[in-house]
């Protein structure tokens, strides 16, 4: 009989674990992003891949530097949890695919250092780091961040080759007017501001129906709305995310959009176009579901999602920017503590207000 057991320290219960892990979750989310990302690489060619790679590597580098600077232990393990990688990936999904390299590097700095580590690292950031970076980049560098490229699939003749792609990413080749294009939302906004009726504007090349194929100008995260949706459904099925936040976002956009479109079709895009355009799908399934910056309860997540959706619609329809998902998410991130406060679960045996419930008259239980 082995009799050498002697505990070196005190262990608290429970003495078993369900087996879930942070890394596990992050890897699943990355897996869910893969189809849309690969489609984006095909659609926009080598520059898209280079920018993605640069953003990811920069995120890892800045995470490493921050952790070193703060004197954290076990940097390797923290890097390995995949959170910085995911932040970089999500950020890259929202950037114009042919943006120059420094956009990715500066974005990674803002996301990791200002958006995350300054707040105390993983789990402490108030705002979604990728969205912080996205918004900061958009405001700081409006030009490169609003220059979109028309789809040039890798298989097409006009697509830039490896070396050309590198030159584009390194900023040594400028986009010609012929190559650049506007996103659907951007185009609609411009036309509207010229006083053109949307019904006329959105015919032909700009027909919203084309959105289903995903072949149009935009970021990796907005061209392939259907693939993003598929990734999101995968996360839903595997239990990584829950349905409340995505549904809230989609409903928050679709309902006001449908109403407004019914009232004034010339001034407001229809719900379908809203849902398939911009970063809505990415925002609904990958960003609004970010654990750290969204409410903890299902009820809270639903409110959060609805808020994101509604603000997105308001910005898109009435604001100055054609797209508003990132702003909407940041605004709702700021409200998360308040939502959390008012959507606490009811404690068993207590009323919502926290007082013990009144016992029922004795004897009724039978």
């Amino acid at each position: 009989m082995t009799n050498t057991y002697n505990a070196s320290r005190t262990f608290a219960s429970p003495h078993a674990h369900g087996g879930s892990g942070v890394r596990h979750t992050m890897v699943r989310v990355q897996f869910a992003l893969l189809p849309a990302t690969l489609f984006g690489f095909w659609l926009y060619g080598w520059p898209a891949f280079f920018l993605w790679l640069i953003t990811l590597l920069s995120c890892l580098a800045f995470e490493f530097m921050s952790l070193r600077l703060m004197g954290r232990q076990q940097i390797g393990r923290t890097l390995g949890d995949g959170s910085a990688l995911l932040t970089g990936w999500l950020l890259a999904m929202t950037l114009p695919p042919w943006a120059p390299w420094w956009v990715g590097v500066v974005g990674a700095f803002i996301a990791i250092v200002i958006g995350k580590q300054v707040f105390g690292g993983l789990g402490h950031n108030v705002f979604n780091p990728a969205m912080v970076a996205r918004v900061a980049l958009l405001i700081s560098f409006p030009l490169p961040l609003t220059t979109w490229v028309a789809p040039l699939p890798l298989t097409s003749a006009a697509a830039p080759g490896f070396v050309e792609g590198l030159q584009i990413t390194l900023g040594q080749m400028h986009l010609t007017d012929a190559m650049s294009s506007a996103t659907l939302l951007g185009y609609a906004k411009t036309e509207l501001s010229r006083g053109v009726d949307l019904v006329q504007a959105l015919a032909g090349d700009h027909a919203p129906g084309l959105s289903w194929s995903g072949i149009r100008a935009g970021s990796l995260g907005e061209s392939a709305a259907v693939l993003i949706l598929a990734g999101g459904l995968f996360l839903l099925v595997t239990g990584v995310i829950r349905w409340q936040a995505p549904l809230g976002v989609l409903a928050g956009v679709a309902v006001p959009a449908a109403i407004a479109h019914a009232v004034a079709p010339g001034h407001y895009l229809d719900a379908g176009t809203h849902l398939l355009s911009g970063a809505l799908m990415l925002g609904a399934f990958f960003i609004a579901t970010d654990y750290v910056t969204s409410p903890t309860t299902g009820q809270g997540q639903l409110i959060f999602g609805l808020g994101v959706g509604l603000i997105t619609w308001v910005i898109r329809s009435l604001g100055g920017y054609p797209e508003g998902v990132a702003f909407a998410i940041l605004l709702m991130n700021a409200l998360t503590p308040i939502i959390d406060r008012y959507t606490k679960p009811r404690i068993l045996g207590r009323t919502r207000a926290g007082r013990p419930i009144d016992p029922p008259p004795v004897g009724k239980g039978a």
């Binding site: 009989m1 082995t2 009799n3 050498t4 057991y5 002697n6 505990a7 005190t10 262990f11 608290a12 219960s13 429970p14 003495h15 078993a16 674990h17 369900g18 087996g19 879930s20 892990g21 942070v22 596990h24 979750t25 076990q74 393990r77 949890d81 959170s83 690292g121 993983l122 789990g123 402490h124 654990y291 750290v292 910056t293 903890t296 309860t297 606490k344 679960p345 009811r346 404690i347 068993l348 045996g349 207590r350 013990p356 419930i357 009144d358 016992p359 029922p360 004795v362 004897g363 009724k364 239980g365 039978a366």
Partner: protein, 500 residues
Amino acid sequence: MGLMEKFFGLSWGIHPEDHKRPAADAATRTMPVPERLFVSLSQHIGAPARPAVLVGQQVKKGDKLADPQGAVSAAIHAPTSGTVTAIGEIPAPHPSGLPVLAITLESDGKDEWAELQGCPDPFALEPAEISRRVAAAGVVGLGGATFPAALKLSLSQKSRVSTLIMNGGECEPYLSCDDRLMRDEAAAIVDGIRLMLHATGASEALVGIEDNKPEAIAAMSEAARPYAEVRIRPVPARYPMGSEKQLILVLTGQEVPADGRPGDVGVVVHNVGTARAVHEAIRHGRPLVSRLVTVNGACVGQPGNIFVPVGALVEEVLAFAGGLKKTPERLIMGGPMMGMSLPHARVPVVKGTSGILALDAAQVADRAQEPCIRCASCVRACPIGLLPLEMARHIQVGDLKGAVGVGLKDCIACGCCAYVCPSHIPLVQYFAHAKGEMAAQERARLRAEATRKLAQARSERLEREAREKAELAARRKAERAAAAAAAASASPAVTEGAQA
């Protein structure tokens, strides 16, 4: 209530892998009495029992070793016949490994019962008499909480409970002692239940058994068939179904108020093992001196359920169960979710020991802590509706009051939150620490109050003494003056002065 039931029925708790078989299916064994038994005096909630024997005294099996002390306490009896060789400190079956007072009993090998007073027709007895006999037998709740059973019986009598809920949930993974008892001794359990119904005055008993124990459900249904008042109610297998509040909610739909007792909703909950102990105590007069213990875990040679005399060392139980195949990663008394890790194996089995688990590293699945990512898995898992992540954050920075504000006092330490936490944060340890700290602060506060009273008493005493001294001095002075005056004026006053 329907919505509420749906809400709680669906969302609380967790589904841990139960690991109950094959140990649950192995035949029950009885462990021979070891040479020496260490009978702890703290085997129940409440004040430790007071020794009632002297060192060197000979006792028979079932003789009383210690008397209850105070309102909440239980008697302790000799698990075998032999000689009391010592009354002193031994390591407690507790994570701290701190000492506890125990009576050491040297077995004489005969295992002779003392004269027992059974009762052939207990239903003729007064309910109060049943409670008294249960108390005399030292029966405590065998589900793990070890609350003196007699006290619960008489309390329920006073609060007129209508329903007796029998807890056959046994939701902790690995454990199967209740399952085994229900399979093997269903008749005794049902008899115990009927005795408890009689003692409490409740009109019906609902026996909640998780649906992952079909054999137990079958055996119990069979045994309970003649008695309409005893109903077997299968409940979904879900942890922590065996928690009082959850079981009451599932079986009756009633919610126990946060600061209340089950009696407030007209129910009382007992464990099925307790029912058997009551049966033994009333029908045969046998006090609680042994119990069925599940010995399980990857490191155990022959996992199974073993009748173990109270006071046997864990190390001896493990040896009887086929020894250890390898050095365990963790040795646990109780279940993996709420049980206590043991500092070593030389601690005694007590009345509340439902299981002894020797788990290997894979079963413990312990990993280094990572930062909280607010995934809220713990919020969904919490059967009470608390926010474990927020409580832990408050405690992390020493803000105990804040933790209480978000529900620390409602926490039942079931361990669901820590079980599901992807960051492996020892949430339960935070809560246990905070509860301990709060208790310590409360003790300090009470002590400071007592100190202030003592200090006040002293200053009053000093004042009084000073005043008395001054008065005395004044009186003497006056007397002297009077005496002098008297002496000066006339002589007849002298006698008066002498009298004074």
